[in-house]
């Protein structure tokens, strides 16, 4: 491992950044406000292979790692378009299918992820099972060769633009107790599957929905991996999720910091640019340092995951996601402060990100649950819950 990224990784960043700059934050906000999807940006990124850099070449992917996909998301976010769907479709679903899917599932889904023609949402959260996934009550019951799925999910992102949802449930045999999750691919047009959008105060083209599964009949091959492989399969998806959530956050932090710095160099309130006042300069400098910390931690987590060390990647990914969410929230907050009233105008494109960075502290795993994890697993402290 090196602290400097490879020439190819840097070239990838440069190319994604150029594509991102063509769209920018205005595009993202316009789509979000109009209730439209970021179709053009998604298709453009797909054509260049950016949406599947981490998927195997055999299925049309780029053959790179999660570190490459994280670079794609970070650069798009830094250009003002933090696409949540990148966390879900190629990172979580793509990683799980690549590792545990059948040959047919890989052929079907990974190829479509790679050419940009299909997307998959990911649903684990339930009304009574957010931070506590052991309370999941979505159940798949065997029915002949297939499955019948019943349950509800909440806060599921981007289902409106997805072709299918990977649903984390349990089998009837493992309906209670510690979670032994099973993963089902549910097409969004499956009979018995319905969805209601949740009104959210986040400016994002991807929406959140409540999902209902009422006797949804699925074929036998809807199951991904083993019904008993349990948490290992799930974590194959959740480590990339955390690494991508970190990239989402550090990208937004970079975007906010860039804007704040540009403004602070230019705006004069007294006789010098406001960036000369240490009251503004030092907080921005601190954010720069914390951003560097979070980015290095994210790169380490990605490196461990790509090297196949899932256990070490778990701790690193959680810590990186924590650090990234904190700096993103601080960066947007301080950027808004630096711009004064302009910080909250639509034109300067910072107020629109306040919700998104708060999201980073809550999802996919909350700040408190990461602190619990570190307290227990890294420090060996007793558990309170």
């Amino acid at each position: 491992m090196s602290f400097v990224e490879s020439e190819e990784r840097r070239a990838l960043r440069e190319s994604v950044a150029a594509l991102g700059a063509k769209y920018g934050h205005e595009y993202y906000v316009r789509k979000a406000r109009a209730g439209e999807e970021t179709t053009e940006l998604w298709a453009g990124a797909g054509e260049l292979g950016f949406l599947s850099v981490n998927l195997p070449e055999r299925y049309g992917g780029g053959g790179g790692g999660i570190g490459d996909l994280a670079a794609v998301l970070e650069e798009l976010a830094a250009a003002g378009s933090p696409l949540l769907m990148l966390v879900v479709s190629p990172a979580i679903c793509g990683s799980i299918i690549a590792r545990f899917g059948t040959e047919a599932q890989r052929e079907y889904w990974l190829r479509r992820f790679a050419d940009g023609s299909a997307k998959m949402a990911f649903a684990i959260t339930e009304p009574d099972a957010g931070s506590n996934a052991h309370r999941l009550t979505t159940i798949g019951r065997r029915d002949g060769g297939g499955w019948v799925l019943n349950g509800r999910k909440v806060f599921i992102s981007a289902v409106e633009e997805a072709d299918a949802v990977m649903v984390v449930g349990r089998t009837a045999d493992a309906a209670t107790g510690r979670l032994r999750p099973s993963l089902f691919i549910v097409p969004t047009d499956a009979p018995g599957f319905s969805r209601t959008p949740i009104a959210m105060e986040i400016v994002s083209p991807e929406r959140q929905s409540m999902l209902y599964f009422d006797d949804v009949r699925l074929p036998g091959d809807a199951l991904v991996g083993d019904e008993d492989a349990g948490l290992l399969q799930l974590f194959t998806g959740l480590n990339p999720e955390r690494i991508m959530a970190a990239a989402f956050a550090t990208g937004i932090a970079r975007y906010a910091l860039d804007r704040a710095v540009a403004y602070a160099k230019d705006r004069q309130v007294w006789d010098v640019p406001i960036g000369a006042h240490q009251g503004l300069a030092h907080p921005l400098a601190r954010i720069k340092i914390e951003l560097e910390q979070a980015r290095l931690m994210s790169q380490k987590a990605a490196w461990l995951y790509d090297a196949g060390d899932d256990a070490a990647a778990g701790e690193a990914a959680n810590m990186a996601k924590y650090a990234a969410a904190e700096v993103a929230a601080a960066a947007v907050d301080q950027a808004v402060q630096t711009l004064g009233g302009n910080g909250l105008t639509t034109e300067y494109g910072l107020g629109t990100l306040v919700g998104a960075v708060r999201l980073s502290r809550i999802a996919p795993v909350s700040r408190e649950m990461i602190l619990n994890y570190v307290a227990q697993h890294s420090l060996g402290l007793p558990r309170s819950y």
Partner: protein, 259 residues
Amino acid sequence: MNIVVLVKQVPDTATERKLSAADSTLDRASADGVINELDEYAIEEGLRLKEAHGGEVTILTMGPDQASDSIRKALSMGADKAVHLVDDALHGSDAVQTSYALAQVLKKIGFDLAVLGSESTDARTGVLAAALAERLGVPQLSLASKVEIDGSTVRIQRITDYGYDRVEGSLPAVLSVVEKINEPRYPSFKGIMAAKKKPVEKLSLADAGIDPALVGLAGATTQVVDFADAPPREAGTVVKDEGDGGAKLAEFLAAKKFV
């Protein structure tokens, strides 16, 4: 078809660019090097012509070692290989000398079509295409906003103040392009990964058959005698609308010959 695209590395126009106090040449250390913007359109056109007619696209760059970054990027966009003319003795060459050096390389490697941007963002002389065509004894098709190749005939639309001229010439030829011609592609992930395996041939003056006496700062035909920073921008004119705002704006634009 053997297409050679000439690519120059220039300091990023988004950063502050400086001349070196020592010899009035470009201070390359002061700014990041990037592909001259119009050359990206030249690369794109080269790639499109290859996609339509077959053949190969070779990138030709004259510049210091660090220009290899720009070469790599051009390869990641899809060019097949590159030739890098790199030699300390080239430092400070002016447009006339540069055209000589590049013409020597083009003679050596051969070409059906040499494509380049119509000017560079640093020196902005805009004479290279003409000088190359002259030295190589081939037609120059300049300022192209559209190109068609039919057998050995090249037809272009050459942009003018009033619209465009139709110009045609026969291969081999030198073609310079303007930004209207296309929209350059971004390097794809596969293109980026493939670029590192593509051949880049480095040539010295001797390799390319270039007479050292005819290049470099000492023998340059033009000389930068003096330079100064651009004056800071002055405050603009504010037109207050007191019922006659429109007329005042029109007056201002007319005075500046915009309308």
